[in-house]
């Protein structure tokens, strides 16, 4: 089974040289620490920066340099800064090659719910709805089950949706799954996890074809 860092490491393997990538808050943010050697990617943060760098050194933080999670950041050489409309033009116009975000639920037809739990304080969707509606390569990074042990990979989402039929791939602590017209297709197992474990933790339609290889992390 993977921890959050393991999930980030596995998704980092999907990165390709020259890609522009938008990483959501939480597990996705960790991916920036595990870019494969020999590959160059640029990270976009939707508040208006391309070429986002690591956190600043203590004492060098700048209130005018933050990411969409409102964390202090730095800019890499070659970075650019722009307004929010330009930022979402990059997103809506599909200039970003990969979007990774967290989710509370994903359905086997690619719907995602990640912004609102009825009865709880609503904080807002931020840029998530724009990202999922427009990006054509979206990976969800999340735990396979919630804190109560219930599957987050469902036949249909129960929470208010963020977007419909938009998710292409899910990487969890248990597995890598592609979303196909017939449901979640199991691609890889996490180390030490059996196909049976994944079946038991997946409520949505699950397709298992042939031997399922173990991930290489």
């Amino acid at each position: 089974m993977l921890d959050k860092i393991g999930i980030a490491k596995r998704i980092a393997q999907e990165l390709q040289d020259g890609w522009y990538v938008n990483l959501g808050i939480g597990i996705p943010t960790l991916i920036a620490n595990y870019i494969p050697k020999g590959i160059s990617v640029e990270f976009q943060s939707e508040n208006g920066i391309l070429g986002m760098g690591p956190f600043p050194f203590e004492g060098e933080e700048d209130a005018d340099m933050i990411n969409a999670g409102k964390q202090t950041i730095t800019a890499m050489p070659g970075a650019s800064i722009f307004d929010s409309a330009t930022s979402f033009a990059m997103i809506r116009g599909q200039h970003i090659q990969l979007t990774v975000l967290g989710a509370m639920e994903v359905s086997d037809n690619g719907d995602i719910a990640n912004w609102k739990i009825p009865g709880r304080m609503v904080k807002g969707m931020g840029g998530a709805m724009d990202l999922v509606a427009s990006a054509d390569n979206i990976i969800v990074a999340m735990m396979h089950t919630n804190k109560k042990g219930k599957s987050k990979l469902l036949k249909s989402c129960t929470l208010p949706l963020t977007g419909v039929q938009c998710i292409k791939k899910v990487v969890t602590n248990l597995a890598v799954l592609d979303i196909t017209p017939d449901g979640f297709k199991l691609i890889e197992r996490a180390p030490g996890v059996t196909v049976e474990d994944i079946k038991n933790a997946t409520e949505g339609r699950l397709i298992i074809e042939g031997d399922i290889p173990e991930m290489k992390i």
Binding site: G48, F55, G59, D64, M65, T72, M125, S134, L161, V164
Partner: protein, 232 residues
């Protein structure tokens, strides 16, 4: 041409209870601190505020919320604010949540003479309720209307008496878009410079969009989430 006013108090003259305001900033980054303080002092109420976020309890728009001066918030993300939560759950505060990209585009459209546009964001979600859906290239889109405001209030790094503005870092965010969409737009700047000091090639917001400008003071520029790495 001289758009300089003496300070925040003079800049907000004409803002009355019940008006709609746009306020630039993302989180606490690039917010018009001086004008927010002046609005708190002025005591105007029943405001509709269009702003990506709603500040924190004791800073930014949170200061106006504490004094119950805001009737309605139009935002994309409003976490990190207990007073906001209390007023929203008790029904004292109306809240309209909008996808962030749509919010940016709606402000830009409002200042650009585009009354409405189609965007894919929010299709199939509760954001789509009551909105016209139209398919382009086989994909569903929602009709979203432009936003304008009686006053737009922005914060820039440098500006001149013509209203030309330069922003610093990610403090740019919504500021240039909202600057376009106010009937009257106020710019508060950290540094007011002489015309000609700003290179015309690098100006972010041309002065035509600004009606009043002043050099602000005592900027706190609070950091919401200080994240650092240890020195190697």
């Amino acid at each position: 041409m001289n758009k300089i006013v003496s300070g925040a108090q003079e800049a907000i003259r004409g803002i009355e209870s019940g008006m709609t305001l746009m306020l630039g900033g993302f989180g606490l980054c690039g917010i018009p601190e001086n004008c927010i303080s002046a609005l708190v002092e002025s005591g105007v109420t029943e405001l509709t505020c269009i702003s990506n976020n709603a500040g924190v309890d004791d800073f930014g728009l949170g200061l106006l919320l504490q004094k119950r001066q805001i009737k309605k918030m139009i935002s994309s993300y409003v976490g990190e604010n207990d007073e906001f939560e209390r007023q929203m759950l008790s029904g004292e505060l109306e809240v309209d949540l909008i996808p962030q990209g749509s919010l940016a585009a709606r402000c830009q459209a409002g200042g650009s003479g585009i009354p409405a546009f189609y965007t894919p964001a929010g299709f199939g979600t509760e954001v789509a309720e009551g909105k016209e859906v139209r398919y382009f290239n086989g994909k569903p889109h929602l009709l979203e209307h432009a936003l304008t405001a009686d006053f737009a209030i922005v914060k820039a790094w440098k500006g001149d008496r013509y209203g030309n503005l330069l922003f610093k870092g990610t403090a740019r965010n919504f500021n240039p878009l909202m600057a376009m969409a106010g009937t009257i737009t106020i710019a508060e700047v950290e540094e007011l410079v002489e015309p000609g000091e700003l290179d015309p090639n690098t100006i972010h917001t041309p002065g035509i969009f600004i009606q009043r400008i002043f050099q602000g003071k005592d900027y706190e520029k609070r950091i919401e989430q200080k994240t650092v790495r240890p020195k190697a």
